[in-house]
Assembly symmetry: C2
Homo-oligomer: 283 residues x 2
DNA sequence: CGTCATCCATGCCCCCAACGTATCGGTCCG
DNA sequence: CGGACCGATACGTTGGGGGCATGGATGACG
């Protein structure tokens, strides 16, 4: 009755994304009839119609939309399972920590020192990523990460708060708003604000897409954008950029996050180090 | 290279749980050699040893432990996918709400009325469960639930807070501690406290296992247990049971929770109703 | 110390199901 | 009306998953 295989889900996802059996079959490296049959069998087994086939194209039904979302979750979980298992099997594993360059609120050196003091600590591999940190933890490419709340989507992850900072706005020094000592969100409403690729839900920005902090500050310096950044980032001076406090911007919390359900002792030890260091730093 | 099928994961989980190929094969309804081959192929594909076979028994390797946890996540996700897809396909679906009897903090009637006022609201099916509510949401048996923080493990779920209540302790009226007007956790330290099957991590209780509130109050009335309950539960009188405030017990927050990644408009509408009602009730 | 029991792996065979090729039926377009 | 396009169907082939029988290793036991 039940017995859905990941192969069937992979096939269905391909069709659901292409909305075209031929192209999907190409992408999967199989012939179109095999794909048709597999999807039909999946529909029969579930007792549900997933696609409305017109002879010109295909559209997802409501149930198909649901299954597309669920299947992606399953396939991510399968990928995470293989990656994590392989890594656990590799001799004397490493702990992969993902973070955004400069996104450690200055805590990283202390955390690494503290964790490394544990005699059976693993080697910590640093993995830098701008826009995919949460996804990298979810899918097993990283074991643990430094993320920011509420900028990152933490669903599916467990997290401990490390540090909360007010946000300041970076402006070109000759920007008209730089004349004021304090700015409010209302002042910035019309300004182009760059956005990161890390698509947090509901944060539509109107400015250019940036890939790293240097690029962002460059844009700010030439007056093409204004950007909300954290206090700690503002301690790094940049030619032509000035910072002004924004009291009503929601503060940013740096968190250490890991995959929910990770029972790894190593991850727990690293998190404990991070929390301890953050507590020590704030006192 | 990659291509792990759910069947292989099901087989591996059976072996990992039984630590015995023969029994696992029985449980799966297949013969032992087929199971051996499938697990071996899985190990070869992952490039990792999952089990240490002694000729007397089998033990999990570290990688095997990891895969066991990951595989359970995958299989839960597959089950959830099929259930949710089937439900979405069933004509004009229902919204399944799971809660503990009496665990609604008195909000349920208002929430149902408010949600039902939406012209395209679905029929809400109430599903009562004591110890598995979070799991039922995770695996798709329910769409949304009323849970309690920190008693329930909310990992893998999204939640909105509805209502926070202090906790009180239920005592037999002739219990020695009932003489005091206010009790503290220290006073209760030696008393047998019943526990629910809902295994929140790290809450080891020393009392009997109870399955419902009536049973719990019965145990309290006969002096076999004392129990921390919420204020709202304490409004229901029970023969021979008295309640005393416990100011230092952590308060209980009633939350409405749903599966992370549910993009369902219906779930969102229900959550909005719940939040709205809770806000109205507390003002 | 030899025998037996237990447990997992392997060899052999069968058969199902997943695949590919060819084709059909329906729809849109020129 | 013919051709192009798209998904479903027919049919033959084959790889692999499964069962049965057996092998090889190890611990138990008399």
């Amino acid at each position: 009755m039940d017995d859905v295989e990941t192969r069937e889900l992979r096939y269905f996802v391909a069709v659901a994304e292409e909305l075209h059996f031929g192209r999907a079959a190409d992408r999967l490296g199989i012939a179109q009839p095999a794909l048709s049959r597999t999807v039909l069998r999946l529909e029969r087994r579930l007792g549900v119609s997933l696609l409305e086939r017109t002879s010109r194209s295909a559209r997802l039904t409501v149930a198909g939309e649901v299954l597309l979302g669920e299947a992606r979750i399953v396939l991510d979980a399968v990928g995470a399972a293989t990656r994590r298992t392989r890594r656990a099997g590799a001799a004397r594993g490493r702990l992969v920590l993902v973070l955004k360059p400069g996104g450690d609120a200055g805590l990283l050196p202390r955390i690494l020192a503290d964790y490394g003091a544990d005699p059976d600590a693993l080697e910590v591999e640093l993995l830098f990523s701008i826009g995919e940190r949460a996804a990298m933890i979810r899918d097993g490419r990283a074991d643990v990460g430094l993320l920011h709340h509420p900028q990152n989507d933490l669903s599916g992850l467990d997290a401990e708060q490390l540090h909360t900072e007010e946000r300041v706005v970076a402006l070109a020094e000759d920007h008209p708003l730089a004349a004021k000592d304090v700015l409010y969100l209302a002042d910035l409403a019309g300004e182009p604000q760059p956005h990161w690729p890390e698509a947090a839900p509901g944060t539509a920005a109107n400015g250019p897409l940036v890939q790293d902090v240097g690029q962002l500050l460059q844009l700010v310096a030439v007056g093409r954008a204004v950007a909300l950044v954290t206090e700690s980032a503002a301690r790094r001076p940049f030619q032509g950029v000035v910072y002004r406090p924004v009291p009503d911007a929601p503060p940013t919390t740096t968190v250490v996050a890991w995959s929910s359900g990770s029972r790894s002792r190593q991850v727990a030890a690293f998190v404990a180090s991070a929390v301890r260091c953050a507590a020590a730093a704030s006192s």
